[in-house]
Amino acid sequence: MIKSDLVRAMNEGYAKLQLDRARVEELPIELEQLRRAIEAANPKVDFDSDPFEFCAALLDVAAGSKND
């Protein structure tokens, strides 16, 4: 669960944005939604897959190949 303390710490260490207190309290809701999305998909990520494989997939799907 993402909490406002984490957002505050990450902002101080990395992002360095001028976030007011209300926004720091609000952001965890949106971030939690995104975290859940990738957590749900994580088991499907193949160690050997490469993001650039997407281009090969586009060409295979275009050709209607058995691999698509």
Binding site: M10, D46, A57, V61, G64, D68
Partner: protein, 481 residues
């Protein structure tokens, strides 16, 4: 006397080439409409009347000389204010770039120039292309040409309004989650999203480089076919552009090959659809069958699409944050409240999460294609599941209410950007509030010809694309009087 602003792009181009009219006459007709409607609809950031007239006169001189003419010779267009033109301001809807002059010209604009198009000016867009409703507090409210109380959708808001309002014959938009298809749908025009990589993104402001696609909004599928033929093709300056031959899309419209089969999306895309939109889609299916298409239900892989819908914002926000880090640190006060807020989340997404989401894209595309395109060549869905909302209904939302609105407007379009597939938005009727509604067709990657051919056949048999907003008809009446 013909009002050439009301003709389609291909009709206007044909008449100019044949000497039936002049580029100057067509350009003046468009400028006249901009003068009549511009202050009501607020779709232009800048109108370059003098430049357009000079270019039109040069185009007419060339036509009279008998020199070869490009496929867009003398036709007035205008584009989303995020396409760079060397030495000219490209504000990207922002205060930050209000005076920023581009150091080079976008490849897509350069190709339109070479095809003979006239550039009428810069069109309003959502700030940095981040929002589906069409608001931008940096400018007067851009308004729907069918009813100024309703949203124009975005982020290519000015493009939809200018084409729907008959101020230009076509416009380049950009689409990261629906930003061509949604404005096209609510303005009653056609919007085409080519396959990811089909059109160079060089010189188009980046929003989310994995999803951004350059494409046209125009009045007919035939217009879009001509425009795609001009702008598509490999660009050595854009490493993501596909190095493949470009087919003759317009010739493909007349192909004698068997018509593509069409699947009605059952699941995911048909959730929460308004009754009037369902009626329009049902009528569309009847029309398509009458034309000769084979149309059958196709079950969507709903779990996969739900996952994709959740992963799309993760990638988009991470990439958007990467683009805006320096400016957000130094000048956040110069962002509108809404877009500044929309960018925040992207700064807190772990790199590993972002990259893992990208790693899934190829596999998910293959799974989706196997599941869907084994049953039909093209898939039919609504563009917007709902009726077009009013400005009052959608303005002033923040937090969860804002995110819910974004999700509602882009549910049916953003998943296609994740998959990188081509799609087209085609007007197919009106809902009870008097605003247009539209269907979306999507197909296999690089199968734009099939999409355009299906849309063109539909438009030959129906007249939704020929209907004009009351404001346009009123302005025409005023001229006649």
């Amino acid at each position: 006397m013909t009002d050439w602003s009301r003709a389609s792009l291909t009709e206007a181009a044909g008449a100019i080439a044949a000497g039936g009219t002049t580029s100057r006459e067509v350009t003046e007709a468009c400028l006249d409409r901009v003068a009549r409607l511009g202050d009501t609809l607020n779709c232009f950031v800048e109108v370059d009347g003098d430049g357009a007239r000079a270019a039109a006169d040069a185009a007419d001189k060339r036509q009279r000389s008998g020199a070869p003419l490009g496929p867009l010779h003398g036709v007035p267009l205008a584009h989303k204010d995020m396409y760079y033109r060397a030495g000219r301001v490209s504000a990207c809807g922002s205060k930050l770039r209000a005076d920023w002059r581009a150091p080079y010209t976008a490849t897509a604009l350069d190709r339109l120039d070479r095809a003979g198009a006239i550039d009428l000016g810069r069109l309003v867009m959502v700030e940095f292309a981040m929002g589906p409703h069409g608001y931008n507090q940096n400018y007067p409210q851009c308004r729907n040409p069918w009813n100024p109380q309703y949203i124009p959708c975005g982020s290519s808001s000015g493009s939809g309004v200018a084409v729907g309002g008959r101020m230009v014959h076509a416009s380049l938009g950009s689409d990261t989650g629906g930003s061509i298809r949604c404005p096209a749908a609510v303005s009653g025009v056609v919007g085409l999203v080519p396959t990811n990589g089909r059109v160079s993104r060089r010189g188009a402001m980046p929003m989310s480089h994995s999803f951004d696609v350059v494409g046209p909004l125009a009045r007919t599928a035939r217009d879009c076919a001509r425009l795609l033929g001009v702008i598509a093709g490999h660009d050595p300056a854009d490493a993501s552009s596909l190095d493949l031959a470009v087919p003759d899309y317009e010739a493909g419209l007349a192909s004698a090959a068997a018509l593509p089969t069409i699947g009605i999306a059952r699941g995911y895309f048909d959730v929460g659809v308004d009754a009037d939109v369902i009626k329009a889609l049902d009528r569309t299916v009847d029309d398509l069958r009458r034309i000769g298409f084979s149309v059958e239900d196709v079950a969507m892989p709903c779990d996969l699409l739900d996952e994709i819908a959740e992963l799309h914002p993760l990638i988009m926000k991470a990439e958007g944050a990467a683009n805006h880090l320096s400016a957000m640190r130094e000048r956040e006060a110069d962002y509108t409240f809404e877009v500044g807020h929309r960018l925040h989340a992207g700064f807190f997404i772990p790199a590993a999460s972002y990259i893992r989401a990208l790693k899934l894209r190829g596999a998910y595309l293959r799974t989706f294609a196997q599941s869907v395109f084994s049953k039909a060549d093209l898939i039919l869905t609504p563009v917007l599941p709902t009726q077009v909302p009013t400005i009052a209904e959608t303005s002033g939302r923040t937090g969860k209410a804002y995110l819910d609105m974004v999700v509602a407007l882009t549910r049916n379009t953003k998943v296609i950007n994740f998959l990188g597939l081509p799609a087209i938005s085609v007007p197919c009727g009106f809902t009870s509030n008097g605003l247009p509604t539209a269907f979306q067709l999507f197909g296999r990657s690089l199968h734009e010809t099939a999409l355009l051919r299906a849309a063109d056949r539909y438009q030959q048999a129906t007249d939704w694309h020929g209907r004009e907003p009351g404001l346009v008809a009123d302005a025409a009446q005023a001229v006649a009087v």
